[in-house]
Amino acid sequence: MVSLFIPCTVDLLMPEIGTAACELLEHLGEQPVYHQDQTCCGQPLFNVGYRDQARRVAKHFIEVFGRDERIVSPSGSCVSMVKHHYPELLSHEPSWYGRARELAGRVFELSQYIVDVLGVTDVGAAFDGSVTYHESCHVLRSLGVSDQPKKLIGAVRGARYVELNNATACCGFGGEFAVGFPEISQALVKDKATNFLNTGADVLLLCEPGCLLNINGYLHRNHPEKKAMHLASFLAGNMKEA
């Protein structure tokens, strides 16, 4: 049984990504469950420095998801929060620490789950156009997930893959950073957008809702004809009817 962990950004602002993740998993024969008690993993609190608060949130998360066999999320940074930062946050409370450690091994980023756990690379999607991929920092560097999404993209019939220049460079999101240091953030997201435009690809794919908000927010303002898309939405949206 796989349990859906839907990040707050997806829940509130981009619910279609959650729906897409759900459809993808169902299409692959899974029957995902969704705990209605879930809220947010606490990453924003933790990153700004509210550790005590983040600790409370972590405990809530562990209560909600603690019994699940496998937990899947369409966000690399939220998975990294649970996997890496929960144990660290709870390191002084042995029983919670144990539960956090135990949970850490059962949380997966969506593309990682599909490719590594389900062993699927071809989800049966087709797309007539060109695509490129942004390697989100947490997906790539915190989780080491890079081949998995590329394999999934590679198996989409008809899709032409174009390499993104500086694909591993940060898009300048960083949560609080984008609000606190708008000029630096702008310079970074502008580079990312420019590199995307230079590929000439129809769509920029990624596995991180934060980057998506940032890059699409910038594109919407400055290049409204172009857009980035979560890999889950792309795959689910281009799936041939079974």
């Binding site: 829940d11 602002l13 209605q36 947010c40 606490g42 409370r56 940060c170 950073f177 708008p182």
Partner: protein
């Protein structure tokens, strides 16, 4: 060195608009990154080489006190004098005293970050001892009174016209010229004069070998070697963490340092000094002082949460890979250390209160941690500083703190969360036009300087899930499309 970390945002804003800085920044970090890759690939097994370096640094920070004592014993037995300085002022006074006791009027200096940290040049000059930088870039920044732009090329962004003007003013050249070769040559002639009559040289230390008492310096211009070998009196200044256990460790760290810094397998000059000149030897200083500077490091060391900062070997690799540094350069960091290295180090040296922008100006992308051959976990340290700032009792951040408390309450109970959603949605929707929000009041303005935000959709995922679950089976198929 006087710290200007409080001007981070202003200076960053200025640098983002400075065309010349932007040109250099678009070339320098990517260029060094490529050189680094080429350099590292010359190891038979680059990954193991980095692992080994990290292990050496891990050992150093585990055994630092005993290693320092061992270093002192061995350096002293080879004739060096080891002096310990608790803080910047003590270090500066020790060095000034050495100069005064010998009636010294000027000293030459090798490029060294620790002497910048403690503000040695200013202290000596204020007290009547001239201190001349001898690294080409440092000569220029010293004359122009600029902070370093880049760790390897501190003055690389300064246009030749400006260099020519200041050289002319200081009498280093007679005729104005923008020819870099002539400018370089002029400095060489100017410095040779200083070296010829040199009484006292001051250098930093890249590695201090505990097992042998040797100090090791790497450089590319030969000026450090001149500063080390020309004078009667040599003063080497090092911070605690420069110590390494053995010569083999030092050599490995040199190989790693050079590759990570400039991509060289070895810098043009590597000099190793074990004690001063001995009887029968033809050159070297008559006396060698090694000043070991603490300046807050014992405390950093004692604190398990911050100790890892002392792993840093100042290779500069993290500067070249940092997306933020690549946009703003070295000036905004406002102290001797810039880039991720400065972001982790400056707050501990200068205080959490004065350096907030440094540890917040980071997207936590993790590129620095990945590249660091010393095993520094920058994001984790920055997060620690952020937490420390927040947990400080004070009036500031009052609104933010109440907001955080509210959010925490909401996150910990789904019904409050969902209630919050129902309250927030109409507010959001009122701001939106055609499904997008282009501006928002309250502290969120920064987002909208270059970006829009999608409106909150009519149904959250949570609500969609319930809709879907409650829908009759055929509907459920159709509901897939939501």
């Amino acid at each position: 060195m006087e710290a200007h970390t409080d001007r981070f945002k202003v200076t960053a804003g200025r640098e983002l608009k400075n065309e010349l800085s932007q040109i250099f920044l678009s070339l320098l970090p990517p260029g060094f990154t490529i050189l680094r890759q080429i350099g590292m690939s010359s190891f038979p097994d680059p990954e193991s080489a980095v692992e080994q370096a990290r292990a050496i640094r891990a050992e150093v920070i585990e055994r630092m006190p005993e290693l320092l004592e061992e270093f002192e014993r061995n350096a002293v037995s080879r004739g060096a004098r080891v002096l310990w300085a608790r803080d910047a002022r003590e270090a500066n006074d020790i060095i000034l005293d050495i100069a005064r006791q010998r009636g010294i009027t000027y000293a030459t200096k090798g490029k060294s970050m620790i002497t910048e940290e403690i503000g040695l040049n200013e202290h000596l000059i204020r007290n009547g001892v001239d201190a001349y930088e001898t690294d080409l870039g440092e000569v220029i920044t010293q004359l122009l009174e600029l902070p370093p732009f880049h760790i390897v090329g501190p003055a690389i962004n300064v246009p030749p016209e400006e260099i020519s003007a200041v050289f002319l003013k200081k009498g280093i050249i007679k005729e104005p010229t923008t020819n870099p070769i002539e400018l370089g040559k002029a400095v060489r002639v100017y410095l040779r004069e200083k070296f010829r009559h040199l009484e006292m040289g001051i250098v930093g230390v890249n590695m201090a070998v505990a097992a042998t008492g040797t100090i090791v310096n790497v450089e590319n211009e030969g000026n450090i070697r001149m500063t080390k070998s020309s004078p009667k009196t040599l003063v080497a200044v090092m911070s605690l963490e420069k110590v390494v256990p053995t010569m083999a460790d030092a050599v490995h760290m040199v190989r790693i340092l050079c590759r990570n810094c400039t991509g060289q397998k070895m810098s043009s000059y590597v000099s190793m000094d074990t004690g001063p000149r001995k009887q029968g030897e033809v050159d070297g200083p008559e006396e060698l002082f090694i000043v070991i500077v603490d300046n807050g490091r014992s405390e950093i060391y004692r604190d398990r949460e911050t100790r890892d900062v002392l792993r840093c070997i100042r290779c500069g690799g993290c500067l070249n890979t940092c997306p933020v540094y690549a946009k703003i350069g070295g000036y905004p960091y406002g102290f001797a250390y810039s880039g991720p290295m400065g972001q982790v180090l400056n707050p501990l040296l200068l205080g959490i209160e004065e350096t907030s922008d440094l540890y917040r100006a980071c997207t936590l992308c993790g590129a620095c941690r990945q590249i660091c051959p010393a095993g520094v976990d920058h994001p984790s340290l920055l997060l620690t500083y952020r937490a420390r700032e927040v947990s400080r009792k004070g009036k500031d951040r009052k609104v933010e703190k109440s907001l955080a408390a509210l959010v925490t309450l909401g996150i910990s109970r789904a019904w409050i969360w969902n209630l919050g959603v129902r309250i927030m949605r109409p507010l959001f929707r009122r701001l939106a036009q055609n499904g997008n929000i282009t501006d928002m009041p309250l502290g969120l303005k920064g987002w909208f300087t270059c970006r829009d935000l999608p409106d909150m959709p009519a149904r959250t995922f949570h609500e969609r899930w319930i809709d879907r679950r409650d829908a009759p089976l055929p509907e459920r198929q159709r509901k897939k499309e939501v």
